[in-house]
């Protein structure tokens, strides 16, 4: 199971990574594999204020549809438009090309409150 060291994770299987003042959010390798083939990603509206833990996106796979939660509070700054035509990128490249949205964080330090790669690896081990 691929769990890159350069970012933080949530109990709901999102990853979050600081990039140029924005927090990029996607779902983990474990999450994409559990979901199965992704067929549609409903991204949030740019400019929307979101709370930490708020459901902001929906990933539809051939098996189910699951909410994606904002790891930190802030404003949606950008969404991955490319997923509209290529939702399978979430499966193929969950940590880079398959990012979902970027948050302009109310407090960038909130990232520190999320799970470390080691803690997330333990969580995945328990759940799998």
């Amino acid at each position: 199971m691929n769990i890159p060291e350069d970012r933080r994770y949530t109990k709901t299987h999102e990853w979050a990574k600081l990039d140029g003042g924005l927090i990029v959010v996607g779902i983990s390798d474990f999450a994409q594999e559990s979901l199965g083939d992704v067929v549609y990603v409903e991204t949030p509206e740019v400019g929307r204020e979101v709370a930490a833990g708020e459901a902001v996106a929906v990933i539809e796979s051939v098996k189910t549809a699951s909410d994606v939660y904002a790891p930190v509070a802030g404003k949606i700054a950008e969404v991955n438009e490319a997923l509209a035509d290529a939702p399978e990128t979430v499966n193929e490249d969950p940590y880079e090309g398959g990012w979902l949205f970027k948050i302009e964080p109310a407090d960038a330090a909130a990232l520190e409150g999320l799970l470390s790669p080691e803690d997330y690896a333990k969580l995945v081990e328990e759940e799998s």
């Binding site: 549609y40 409903e42 509206e45 929307r48 539809e60 189910t64 549809a65 909410d67």
Partner: protein
């Protein structure tokens, strides 16, 4: 598939598991009078005697085939082809087509229905139908609120008052705010909307029959970032500019005028159509065309992840079914008439309604209360309360003058005409109304 009951062996096995001898022991807690009720029934009759009895009862029915009542439900001629097809077992008894491998016929029929509704409304996509016009309106407004993430709704008073009641019930449950804009001179006045408004609703032809100019409302709504839900009688769309052409985002309405009898006010079917950007918000079933592994055309339920059986509490709607048979009757009706035939039916209805209005407005004390142009319904102001007039006409065998709620004005009554009403019918109603009012 045949129904297979439990065999006597099955029952014995299950009872043994429960440590019981007799099925009666399972029902020991029930009062005996419920288990063996004394039914007050007459003696048995032969089939022939039952038929005679039922024919006697049926002869006491008053037919509403010549109803002039209006209010969105009207008698139209339904070609025999429609009931003949609709009563085929494949349509009449078909259940949810979850398995495309055994449901191609009904799936294709639904797909054709959806296509016709999309064409009629000038919008991109329709679902497999909803229950009736009022419910379709409520779903259309909820859809707009989900999309805009707003909780304000502005509704024209021109929207059918019963639809507004149903809408208010739904909106109360989700905590949305609903405001009404009163008609002025029978038409919806210009309005401004603030950025709390997610949905604006207007109806054309409106409740009292007038054809609205929806352009100012649509422009103001879009200016404010709100979506427009347009309530339209589907028959009127054969002649009038469509909701899609006007720029509306959602079109809803009651399908009764399309191939369905009045059915005592229901069951009918409701239609809903939306722009493609709202597709993911659309409630209920959706059928899509696809190709199988051999490249052959086929039909399947699509985008099911919006729905309750997959998304549970987070589904776009609690709607899990549709008005299958009545909606397919609508599609059969549309297919049997074609666009030109439908326009002919609509034109005839307009002509008859205007003849009727002119004839009735000649009566002393009666005046037309609906501004021109109107479609095939209109309101008259009567010299007496409408419910008295309606009752007196009904006693003479004429079903007309549906009372209009007092919020629209005093002593107003709705009248409608269709291709079912000939010159003799119009003349007969005129005489009856003149007598009742004299």
């Amino acid at each position: 598939m045949d129904f297979t009951p439990h065999t006597a062996d099955d029952v014995r096995t299950m009872l043994a598991e429960l440590g019981m001898q007799d099925l009666r022991e399972l029902y020991a807690d029930l009062p005996p009078e419920l288990l063996e009720p004394q039914l007050n029934l007459p003696e048995p009759l032969s089939e022939q005697e039952v038929l005679v009895h039922l024919q006697e009862l049926a002869a006491r029915n008053q037919t509403a085939a010549k109803s002039f009542l209006g209010g969105g439900v009207r008698p139209h001629f339904v070609p025999s082809l429609v009931p003949a097809l609709a009563q085929r077992g494949e349509f009449l008894t078909a259940y949810t087509p979850y398995q495309p491998e055994v449901s191609q016929g009904v799936l294709q029929a639904i797909f054709e229905y959806q296509t016709m509704i999309a064409e009629l409304t000038g919008l991109d996509v329709s679902n497999a139908s909803l229950y009736d016009g009022a419910e379709a309106l409520a779903e259309g407004v909820l859809l707009a609120l989900r999309q805009t993430r707003r909780m304000g709704v502005v509704v024209s008073q021109g929207v059918h008052p019963e639809y507004r009641q149903v809408l208010a019930t739904y909106l109360h449950a989700v905590g949305a705010e609903m405001r009404m804009v009163a008609l002025e001179g029978g038409l919806t006045p210009a309005a401004q909307f603030d950025d709390s408004v997610g949905a604006v609703v207007l109806q054309s032809p409106n409740f009292i029959g007038a054809i609205e100019n929806p352009e100012p409302w649509i422009a103001a709504a879009h200016q404010a970032g709100a979506l427009v839900v347009y309530v339209a009688d589907p028959l009127s769309l054969a002649l009038l500019k469509t909701p899609g052409e006007w720029g509306a985002d959602v079109a809803v309405g009651d399908g009764q005028p399309l191939g369905n009898a009045m059915n005592f006010g229901g069951p009918h079917f409701g239609y809903i159509a939306v722009r493609e950007k709202l597709l993911r918000q659309l409630p209920g079933r959706l059928v899509s065309e696809t190709r199988d592994v051999d490249g052959r055309r086929g039909y399947v339920l699509a985008l099911a992840a919006r729905e309750q059986h997959i998304r549970r509490a987070k589904a776009k709607s609690n709607i899990t079914t549709n008005a299958q048979l009545t909606a397919l009757m609508g599609a059969m009706y549309l297919a049997s008439l074609g666009p030109a035939g439908l326009a002919e039916v609509a034109t005839t209805a307009v002509v008859r309604a205007h003849e009727l209005a002119a004839a009735l407005a000649e009566i002393d004390g009666v005046e037309l209360a609906t501004p021109q142009p109107f479609f095939n319904e209109f309101a008259l102001r009567l010299p007496r309360p409408a419910d008295e007039v309606r009752a007196a006409l009904a006693a003479r065998g004429w079903h007309a003058a549906a009372p209009v709620p007092a919020e629209y004005g005093e002593n107003l009554a709705l009248f409608a005409a269709t291709e079912r009403h000939g010159g003799a019918d119009i003349d007969g109603l005129r005489q009856a109304l003149a007598e009742v009012l004299s």
